[in-house]
Amino acid sequence: MRKEEIFFDAITNIREDLVEAAQNYDFHRRVRWERWAGLAACLALAAFLSLPFLLPSGGSGRDPNSTADQTAPSAPEAVPPTEAPAGDSGGEVSGEPAPGASEGAALLRFKATVLEVRENGLLVEPDPDAGIAVRVEVPLDGVANLPALAVGDRVAITAAAVQETEPARLTGVTEITPAE
């Protein structure tokens, strides 16, 4: 017997508590946490960098004052404060897309055929008109009133988004109902 075959047999003898824990380990949980942490860090950085622009009176007031210190006849310095409202209006404009964007994040609804029924989820084949991946994993945590499903069943699924993994994976699944 080759040495690697002895290893293969030895791995079969790994203690069952370790095996069981590995089967239950959810790699996605950590990925999800890291993704949100990354997003939160980016938002925090963006907020920090845009702070001077979001404080119109402070931001526009400081520059003129600093120039005013350098030049005594500072009549034109009255102009920058009048520019401040322009800055304000710019702030409103830049503030508008955010709510607009969140309104645009509509839920994803499509019909699919169940390919596999797993312990914590489904593997489904979306209808071609859904315009998403050929096979999609559907986690079931958080889905209320889940109907009894079997391979071949038709279902209508409501979710927040699709992750571009292989196979693709839904996030924020809120509803699964029998279709047709």
């Binding site: 040495k3 290893f7 293969f8 030895a10 791995i11 079969t12 790994i14 370790l18 590995a22």
Partner: protein, 185 residues
């Protein structure tokens, strides 16, 4: 149905035990066998044999984890089938796993004692205990379940290349650990 209830059915000699085992762990068993054999028909037969072995061994056995118990049986049956049927051929399933496991074999210079599979299993278990939870799960899912790197990469949200490198580091760490203990296979 909970594992304990299924095991109770085996002990009561109720054939529903096999049906319930198939409902709960059928997919898991198929996947483990397929990862080794890469043949649907062979895997199907191994799964049936596994249920038969469960029926024969419970009682007296009362496993703590039914999934691990089934997995051990189906791995042993699949490996035996693989060896007897494909002894001289190279196949994608077990052969790929075996080629990767070559990295774990300690170098001959460090030989102090030779161990058998059972003792080596215990040494690997102890090494696994010292790993971060995710590395431990990754190693077991790859080499115990035989899950493809691509699938694991999908679950981790990483690229397959990154997972391959991570697995290589784990195999090298295992080899180093065994060499430090003066172990050879």
């Amino acid at each position: 149905m909970e594992d304990i209830q299924i095991i109770e059915l085996y002990w009561m000699r109720d054939e529903a035990a096999i049906r319930e085992t198939d409902v709960k762990y059928g997919t898991f068993c198929h996947r483990v066998a397929m990862n080794i054999l890469h043949s649907f028909q062979d895997s199907e037969e191994c799964v049936s044999d596994t249920y038969g072995r469960c029926w024969d061994t419970m009682p007296p056995q009362r496993p703590g984890s039914l999934r691990a118990y089934l997995g051990t049986i189906i791995r042993n049956l699949s490996i035996s089938r693989y060896r007897s049927a494909h002894a001289q051929k190279r196949f994608g399933g077990a052969e790929v796993l075996l080629s990767e496991l070559t990295d774990c074999v300690p170098s001959p210079e460090s030989v102090q004692r030779t161990v058998e599979a059972v003792e080596l299993g215990e040494l690997i278990s102890r090494w696994l205990e010292g790993l971060p939870e995710e590395d431990r799960a990754l190693f077991i899912r790859r080499y115990w379940n035989g899950d493809a790197v691509k699938i694991l990469a999908g679950e981790l949200g990483a690229r397959p290349n990154a997972v391959t490198k991570r697995l290589l580091r784990l195999r090298e760490a295992l080899r180093k650990n065994l060499e430090e203990q003066g172990v050879c296979v």
